[in-house]
């Protein structure tokens, strides 16, 4: 398959069996845990799964649970150079009991570090997953794991407190991430966990169509909250990756914010810059699921109305989920001039890694040594 060299910002990995993780959980929780996943009024899944039907392993092992399958089905044939593993999808911190949620996420982080990140494959990088109900404990989890060379992001998924992630209630998380120099990531899909009636305005979506189409709604709120509450001003180095909500909404959203920010300055004077400037400098969006639009031209022209969009987009496949993108197809939909940045270099810069050309040159030196 090949295609462009990839820095994939959203691959979902999983355990083969819950026991793989549970033996990291303190005994008192293990004895009373009913389910590792929080309750949600979950939706019907086509063919009974949210995964690609060809991603189940031998014997029906869960999609994303086998490194060998990940390597042979995706990493090798699709020319993946960096693979950011993001759990499946990490909703577990949405358990109603905040103390159990915190303990379970710690266990998942330990499992991830000991199993996946000990695999001898330099492509694999991952995230520090948080349970956010107690932001002070969440901040402690960031500090506990920061410094591991393969943990490159702090990931926020479930939202049990019902506040957008830029709200001041989460300041301990913002402060800890800024202190250790890790960006925050927000992955869609966590809104319904632990608050099963509140995943979007108007309540629970009823079908996958409205559920998926409305994923931009909570993400818009999360993004805007970082601007409105001055998080980017308070923490000048803090960066934010928005994962899996699509792209076409961004230009119109930025136009509206830019048009209103000065008029409303009496209430939000700490927003010093145009919202689009904060986005351009501090925020990155993953590409999947990239809207096809009526034509390639329509989609590219729309995106180009956001100045510098080619510096903002980072490739993600969403492997092994059912709506995963194929990088070869995405490459045909965006200008060639964007390829190096979109498929690799934007993400590398965001996570503090060398651009592809430099990484390849380094690899050649190592091979020659």
């Amino acid at each position: 398959m090949a295609g462009p060299a990839l820095f994939d910002c959203d691959i979902h990995h999983n355990w083969k069996a819950e026991e793989d993780v549970l033996h990291y959980l303190p005994r008192r929780w293990r004895d009373s845990l009913h389910s590792m996943s929080p309750p949600m009024m979950w939706l019907q899944q086509s063919f009974g799964t949210n995964a690609r039907l060809d991603s189940f392993g031998a014997g029906g092992s869960p999609p994303g649970s086998s490194y060998e399958m990940l390597r042979t089905q995706y990493l090798d044939p699709f020319n993946v150079r960096k693979a950011k593993l993001s759990f499946y999808i990490g909703q577990n911190g949405g358990l109603v009991n905040p103390y159990l949620a915190d303990a379970l996420v710690r266990a998942m982080n330990d499992w991830n570090r000991d199993y996946w990140l000990s695999i001898d494959d330099d492509r694999l990088i991952s995230v520090i997953l948080l349970a956010t109900q107690d932001p002070v404990q969440a901040a402690a989890e960031i500090r506990r794991l920061a410094g591991h060379p393969k943990l490159v992001e702090v990931l926020l998924v479930p939202n049990p407190l019902g506040k957008p992630f830029g709200h001041p209630i989460y300041d301990p998380i913002h402060a800890a991430a800024a202190e250790v120099g890790l960006p925050l990531g927000i992955h869609i899909g966590g809104e319904g966990f632990a608050r099963p009636t509140l995943n979007v305005a108007g309540g629970q979506a009823n079908c996958k169509l409205d559920f998926l189409a409305l994923q931009i709604e909570p993400m818009m709120h999360h993004l805007l909250s970082f601007i409105v509450h001055g998080v980017f001003e308070r923490y000048p180095a803090l960066k934010l990756m928005l994962i899996e909500m699509g792209l076409a909404w961004l230009p119109a959203f930025a136009w509206k914010l830019d048009a209103m920010v000065d008029v409303l300055r009496r209430e939000t004077d700490w927003v010093k810059r145009l919202p689009s400037d904060y986005i351009r400098e501090r925020v990155r969006l993953t590409t999947q699921p990239m809207e096809a639009g009526p034509s390639r031209r329509h989609m590219v022209e729309l995106l180009e109305t956001f100045d510098g969009i080619e510096d903002v987009l980072c490739y993600a496949s969403d492997y092994p989920h059912w709506d995963a993108d194929n990088s070869v197809v995405i490459a045909s939909r965006v200008p060639k001039a964007w390829h190096a940045k979109l498929f690799y270099d934007n993400a590398a810069a965001f996570y503090g890694m060398p651009p592809l050309a430099e990484a390849d040159a380094g690899a050649r030196v190592d091979a020659d040594a």
Binding site: M1, S46, R52, L53, D54, W322, A324, D325, N326, V329
Partner: protein, 123 residues
């Protein structure tokens, strides 16, 4: 017509991937008939041989009613669930993305696929 395997190699309703003159073809055995289509989904290039065979979705005239036409097999892509009519290769929706259909038959316990295109009307 090139021989792609024994009849017993093809399970009912389970697509199989074969290669005919260098071309990837998904072969489906369904209710006594064999169907052959180009194996790559035109949407994201996924292999359709990993997909699911099911009767064609019809209806939609009344909200809340979903009906199936048991006479028409469709093949659902294993990734995004795009559906293709196995008789015609026509997609269940966006008409710009069809797949090629080929002639398939079974004689004396052997399955044959020709790269001649088929445009049969569904029954």
């Amino acid at each position: 017509m090139p021989d792609v395997g024994a009849e017993s190699d093809f399970q009912e309703g389970r697509p199989a991937l074969v290669t005919v003159r260098g071309r990837e073809v998904a072969v489906v055995r369904w209710r006594g008939a064999f169907y052959a289509v180009a194996a790559r989904c035109p949407h994201m290039n996924a292999l359709l041989s990993g997909g699911v065979v099911c009767p064609k979705l019809t209806g939609g005239a009344d909200v809340g009613m979903i009906e199936l036409d048991e006479r028409v097999p469709t093949l659902a892509c294993p990734w995004h669930g795009w559906l293709f009519d196995l008789h015609t290769g026509a997609p269940a929706w966006d008409g710009t993305y069809g797949i090629r259909t080929y002639r398939a038959s079974c004689e004396d316990g052997r399955v044959h696929v020709s790269l001649d295109r088929v445009r049969a009307e569904p029954p």
